[in-house]
């Protein structure tokens, strides 16, 4: 009813006075201003009410300037020219002197710039695309249709299984809609019955094809299969099977020491993690041990001194950090448990060096806080071990020691830089870290000398012209980058109002930082129904899609988290439900 109207908006008498002054009518009497303000409010509201009809017939939800113009025209009033906005009017708010002021930011443009600028591309023409929304009453799970079960729903189910029961009791029809007509509505509802794990013939076929392709020898086919796993909606019914497949596969192949297959399985895991229609919390009991195995297992290949099992360990470590970031909650304490496993492996005397490497890699991926708390105290012991082994006659031990050293020298200095005060004296480092001391000290000093360390603020105007795709008028701004946060997170704001934090991303060998700048979706950019694929294909190029990667512009603190980059980009999709469309 009427009291639901939050604050009745009105033009204030003060505004009228200011407007009067601006056109040279002053002073305006209080009574006059009040009378005018009231009348203007009334007329504005009437026009807006009329304009809503135009919004309705334009089949839109948002009221635009054009609607207002049309309402004026229908009242035989000259419309206001020059105020056009296809989407929204970016009102900005400023406050000072105890008053709030809303204003429209009107930037001054150089005419010469506009003249010399390249002509913007023509907007793509409207086109018609067709797909099956339903086939005999069943909605096919194709990218053009929304995911049968949204990620939020999956999450809710995983967190609170009882919700499913309640929902089922409330509306059995709903489940029927999700599964199409295949599922019979059951009158007596029991929890176990609801967890149907029947796969249709097509799904079984798909499962067979996908698993074969993922571990087969045909690389292009594997690429397609992984792409399908990473982007197809509607996999949630098969995730359980796929996770079991991965778990079983890892178990068998670790015994067999089949490095290639383990890599394939980890890539499958990565694809599943990347699929933003899936919520995998329910399946972590299978995924986590498999990934952990690939990080810290004693032996992953037949010839440990020759094969590059280090890459697998690195990759799996990154996966693990991805899992922790997505699914760590206070209830499951995932990260704590994982860290504990890694710490156990750091017991240098008992564990083989490959395992130690895995543990170090795993911990380093988990971010600077973890490094500071768990790796730095062990540095002394580790460097002693490295010192022993690096001189060792065994090629395997020597190789392992070099790898551990490399990993430590890459990941630890940024943390040390933040936690130790200059001056960085060689003797201190030697005392604290033994053999690795000089190396660490050298890289810390190098880090300190690099400009731009600390809070990096990149001013938008410098970047915007080169970045701006097509003719979008939306400026891009990076608001700030915090220093002490986990992983040196940069807060990046796109003009569309999206805010995200990105893991500070440094890529070896040069500890550079990648900035990920999000712009709002540009009007007029071709976004066909296949845009998810399109986005993924163009990610590294940073064109055409909503996300743009900059090449290293400055160095920064932060743990190296290359997969973080991918993750952030995936998250540039507006929301889970929208699925990149």
């Amino acid at each position: 009813m009427l009291d639901e109207v939050a604050v009745p908006s009105a033009v204030s008498a003060e505004s009228i006075k200011i407007m009067g002054e601006s056109i040279g009518i002053s002073p305006l009497g209080d009574d006059v201003a009040r009378e005018l303000a009231e009348d203007i409010t009334y007329r504005l509201k009437n026009i807006v009410q009329d304009g809503k009809k135009f919004t309705h017939h334009g089949k839109r939800k948002r009221f635009t300037c054009e609607d207002f113009d049309w309402a004026l025209k229908s009242k035989n009033i000259e419309p206001i020219y020059g105020v056009v906005s296809s989407e929204f009017i970016p009102w900005r708010l400023t406050s000072g002197g105890g008053r709030d002021l809303h204003f429209l930011e009107d930037r001054e443009l150089e005419v010469s710039d506009i003249v010399t600028q390249q002509l913007p591309k023509l907007p793509p023409a409207a086109a018609v695309k067709c797909h099956w929304l339903a086939i005999e009453g069943v909605q096919p799970a194709i990218p053009e249709n929304p995911a049968p079960m949204s990620k939020n729903l999956q999450k809710q189910e995983a967190v609170d299984p009882a919700s499913k029961l309640a929902a089922a009791q409330a509306d059995t029809r709903n489940t029927r809609n999700i599964h199409g007509r295949g599922l019979k509505s059951v009158e007596t509802v029991r929890v176990k019955q609801l967890a149907t794990h029947e796969l249709s013939a097509e799904q079984q076929l798909y499962y067979k094809e996908i698993t074969e392709a993922c571990v087969g020898s045909d690389e292009p086919k594997r690429g397609e299969a992984l792409h399908s796993l990473a982007f197809d909606p509607g996999l949630h019914q098969m995730v359980a099977r796929l996770c079991t497949f991965i778990a079983e596969g890892v178990r068998v192949n670790v015994v067999q020491r089949n490095l290639a297959l383990l890599i394939y399985l980890m890539r499958m895991t990565k694809a599943l993690l990347d699929n933003n229609t899936l919520y995998l919390e329910k399946y972590l009991h299978e995924l986590t041990p498999s990934v952990l195995t690939c990080i810290v297992s004693r032996q992953l290949c037949l010839k440990p001194d020759m094969d590059n099992h280090w890459a697998l360990r690195d990759f799996a470590a990154r996966l693990m950090s991805q899992i922790c970031r997505h699914y760590n909650t206070t209830t499951n304490g995932l990260q704590t448990r994982i860290s504990r496993v890694f710490c156990k492996c750091l017991n240098v005397d008992k564990t083989p060096l490959a395992t130690v490497y895995g543990a170090v890699a795993g911990l380093c991926e988990l971010g600077p806080e973890v490094i500071k708390a768990l790796v730095v105290p062990k540095l002394r012991v580790l460097s002693n071990k490295i010192e022993q082994c690096i001189e060792s006659p065994s090629a395997y031990e020597k190789n392992a020691a070099v790898h551990i050293k490399g990993m430590l020298v890459k990941s630890v200095p940024p943390v040390l830089k933040m936690n130790r005060n200059p001056p960085d004296l060689l003797t201190d480092y030697k005392n604290d870290f033994g053999f690795l001391g000089p190396l660490l000290q050298a890289s810390v000093i190098k880090l300190r000398q690099t400009p731009g360390v600390g809070g990096v603020v990149v001013s938008a105007p410098a970047l915007a012209p080169t970045l701006r795709p097509l003719s979008t008028p939306t400026p891009t701004r990076i608001l700030h980058q915090s220093v002490g946060g986990v992983g040196g997170r940069a807060l990046v704001v796109g003009s569309g109002g999206q805010v995200t934090t990105t893991g500070g991303v440094g890529v070896a060998p040069s500890p550079g930082q990648k900035l990920i700048i999000m712009t709002s979706r540009t009007p007029g950019v071709q976004q066909g129904l296949d845009s998810p694929q399109l986005v993924s294909a163009q990610l590294p190029l940073g064109e055409g899609s909503g996300a743009t990667i900059l090449s290293p512009t400055s160095t920064a603190a932060g743990a190296a988290l290359p997969p973080g980059a991918k993750y952030v980009l995936v998250k540039t999709e507006p929301t889970d439900d929208e699925y990149g469309m």
């Binding site: 009334y42 309705h56 018609v128 005999e136 053009e144 007509r181 976004q527 929208e578």
Partner: protein
């Protein structure tokens, strides 16, 4: 059709003054409405085209004037003076001069009413003048609402219906008499006792805070010109009268006496659900007297097609021919049966079938043999046509309207950037006609002359039509696919030829944006509805409307033809659906019950049922055999419903909405035997969750159009808002 005494097209021509007068006299509220609407500035100048700003004195402008200028010779002087007075008042000098010149009427005319537009308005508003004590209003209303609250449940809900009109008229009386503070207080304190669906109107009314503002408010005009109707049983009325007798002084009895039209009904008082089901329209319920006319809702007799079908059949492969033929014959027999509810075939003149039409009918027929039978166990397949790069934010402008031709071969859509785009959705290309010199070479008697006159080389899959100067609000493809009608916010309706790909006629008549246009299922006729609160019936061979359906109290947002072309349904922002008779222009049904702007209407293929969807996200189903009561209320959507479609055999209803879903409803169950027998005032509409068969969400694509192909595949379309 070859009867010599059957009506001809000419008999429907607008120049026939008796016909026009008939039409005008049909709807009394509309008559009382029009003058004050004109004078108060809401329709500022009847003869001035508001969008072009030009004076248009040609006969394309409103029919009411137009008729007069047609027959000025026998028109009486006083009417002429009134028209000229009106023109003077509107300061339309050039129009006045032209009119005087054309009529040879040069007597001086004084504008006696110097107070201008406010004069008449003042008279209407003066009814609000009262010297009542402003303080007693709130107490009086509180007493009324306390009385309603304490009433027996049997009477409570019927009596409660008077609260809303009493409140708003009290408010307006207070405002008129300058007691602004009391008025605002009254509305603040008492609006909680009003049903929630009146909130929008209350909000509009509450904007009016001074006497001067009362003049221009469109909603207020409606409230002044039309009495709010409350239907009440004899017992409830007696109950109410007892209360009024106790407090014979004060504003409440006066307002109920002056402002309310109480529609007395014999029988039991209605329950809460029944009362709520019919409330919602701006003017309350439809009076029962408005819904008494018999409606010929049956389908017209199918023309004789046996010969065509047999010919076609011979041409076809004759595998398992005997079986086919038998079933066809049965079906044909069935078609020929005379429907007792069908209108006489010559009730309105329909175009004679040409050979190509007969072939088209035969094709429809053959397709209907092959179509899938849909039911609650056999749901349809849905093919979705999404428009990419056509969302709200795209430079090319958003798609506002979509239509698919009856044979599902052409998809036309209109955009906010005034462009109409026609796509072929079959492999067949869109061909243009050959140039004139080549056309003359074609043998006109040859059988395939229609194919030959098209230029094969010009085949394209998509063509743009440009001509509108505002968003294209609706498109409709004629049943023979030769013409395309489109309506625009620029106030024009355009008819385009799909053979020459040009605009062939611009129908001017609506003086404000036109919201909807539909071709009749028999071709030839088309109906439009617009912001000027009228729906108009046109034909393809004249540029003047044949009928003006006036009566709605707000914009006519959507129109649709009955399958037998004798009736037109219109949905309006006054939250009612009206059914109009094309033969005499009368309003034969007023359906109330929607709580928001009616945004979609459609008839079932059998012609008996009408489904309407609205901005309140509900679908109501009406029985044309009954007397204006809803048969079912289907609610599950969460946003405006923009389109409704019935499967070809009428067992399934599909609805598409702004909430980006297509929902499938079990219409067979709605119309089940037994239910449709005795729908009257005492039954409440069926509201059953099991009527919803399925929901198909789309990906951020509002559904603007739904269309069942002849074989019952559902085609949906909408712009993708990624």
């Amino acid at each position: 059709m070859d009867d010599s005494d059957s009506p001809t097209y000419a008999s429907l021509a607008p120049a026939n003054p008796t016909m026009v007068n008939d039409l005008a006299s049909v709807d009394l509220p509309s008559l009382s409405n029009i003058p004050d609407v004109n004078s108060n500035g809401h329709l500022p100048s009847a003869v001035q085209s508001p969008l072009s700003g030009q004076d248009v004195s040609s006969p394309q402008t409103p029919a009411s004037l137009d008729m007069k200028s047609d027959g000025y010779s026998d028109m009486d002087k006083s009417t002429m003076i009134a028209v000229i007075q009106f023109l003077k008042r509107g300061n339309l000098k050039s129009t006045e001069e032209i009119l005087r010149k054309e009529c040879g009427f040069f007597e001086p005319v004084d504008v006696t009413d110097t107070s201008g537009a406010l004069g008449e308005e003042g008279e209407v508003l003066a009814a609000y003048k009262s010297d009542g004590n402003p303080a007693e209003y709130q107490d009086a209303f509180k007493a009324l609402s306390a009385f309603v609250e304490k009433s027996l449940d049997a009477y409570k809900y019927e009596v409660a219906a008077v609260l809303y009109p009493v409140l708003i008229h009290m408010y307006l009386e207070l405002i008129y008499n300058g007691h602004r503070g009391e008025a605002v207080e009254l509305l603040q304190n008492c609006s909680s006792s009003i049903e929630a669906h009146h909130a929008d109107d209350l909000r509009s009314i509450s904007l009016v805070t001074s006497r001067a503002q009362m003049a221009g408010q469109p909603l207020l005009n409606t409230l002044l010109s039309a009495q709010y109707t409350c239907r009440m049983s004899r017992d409830s009325l007696a109950h109410l009268k007892r209360f009024l007798a106790d407090r014979s002084a004060g504003p409440v009895p006066r307002i109920i006496q002056d402002r309310l039209n109480i529609d007395l009904v014999d029988g039991q008082p209605r329950t809460k659900a029944q009362v709520l089901a019919v409330q919602g329209a701006i003017t309350g319920e439809a009076p029962r007297s408005a819904n008494k006319t018999k409606i010929f809702y049956g389908l017209l007799k199918e023309p004789e097609l046996q010969t065509v079908i047999n010919e076609e059949e011979e041409a076809e492969d004759d595998l398992d021919k005997p079986k086919k033929k038998k079933s066809k014959k049965d079906a044909l027999q069935k078609n020929k049966k005379n429907d007792p509810n069908a209108p006489p075939a010559n009730r309105i003149p329909l175009p004679e079938l040409r050979d190509q039409d007969k072939q088209e009918r035969a094709r429809i027929y053959r397709d209907s043999m092959k179509r899938v039978t849909l039911s609650r166990d056999a749901l349809p397949s849905i093919c979705f046509y999404s428009f990419v790069n056509a969302s709200n934010t795209c430079v090319g402008g958003s798609v506002c309207s979509v239509d698919i031709s009856d044979d599902s071969s052409i998809l036309a859509f209109g955009s906010a950037e005034s462009i109409l785009s026609v796509h072929s959705i079959t492999p067949a290309k869109l061909k243009a006609m050959k140039p004139a010199e080549q056309l003359s070479d074609i043998d006109k008697d040859s059988e395939d002359v229609l194919v030959r006159m098209l230029d094969d080389r010009s085949g394209e899959t998509q063509r743009n039509l440009m001509g509108h100067s505002g968003p294209v609000t609706a498109v409709s493809v004629s049943p023979d696919k030769a013409l395309l009608a489109s309506s625009g916010q620029d106030g024009t309706v355009r008819i385009w030829s799909l053979q020459t790909w040009t605009c062939v006629v611009v129908l001017r008549g609506h003086i404000y944006p036109v919201w909807s246009v539909r071709f009749s299922p028999h071709g030839y006729y088309l109906v439009t509805g617009g912001h000027d609160r009228t729906a108009r019936l046109w034909t393809t061979d004249q540029h003047l409307p044949l009928r003006i359906f006036a009566g709605h109290y707000s914009d006519v947002d959507v129109v649709e033809f009955h399958p037998n072309s004798n009736y037109v349904a219109s949905g309006s922002s006054d939250r009612s659906v009206r059914l109009w008779d094309c033969s005499n222009g009368a309003c034969v049904r007023i359906f109330t019950g929607h709580k928001g702007t009616v945004s979609a209407v459609n008839f079932s293929p059998c012609g008996r049922y009408l489904a309407s969807g609205s901005c309140d996200a509900r679908i109501l189903v009406w029985d044309l055999g009954g007397h204006g009561n809803a048969l079912a209320a289907l609610s599950s959507h969460s946003d405006t419903i923009h389109t409704l479609a019935f499967s070809r055999e009428g067992t399934i209803l599909a609805s598409g909405s702004m909430d980006c879903t297509v929902k499938i409803w079990d219409f067979a169950k709605v119309t089940e035997e037994g239910r449709d027998e005795d729908v009257n005032a005492t039954t409440s509409p069926l509201e059953d969750k099991s009527l919803l068969l399925s929901t198909f969400p789309t990906k951020q694509t509002p559904v603007l159009s739904l269309h069942f192909t002849r074989r019952n595949v559902l085609l949906a379309s909408g712009p993708f808002n990624g």
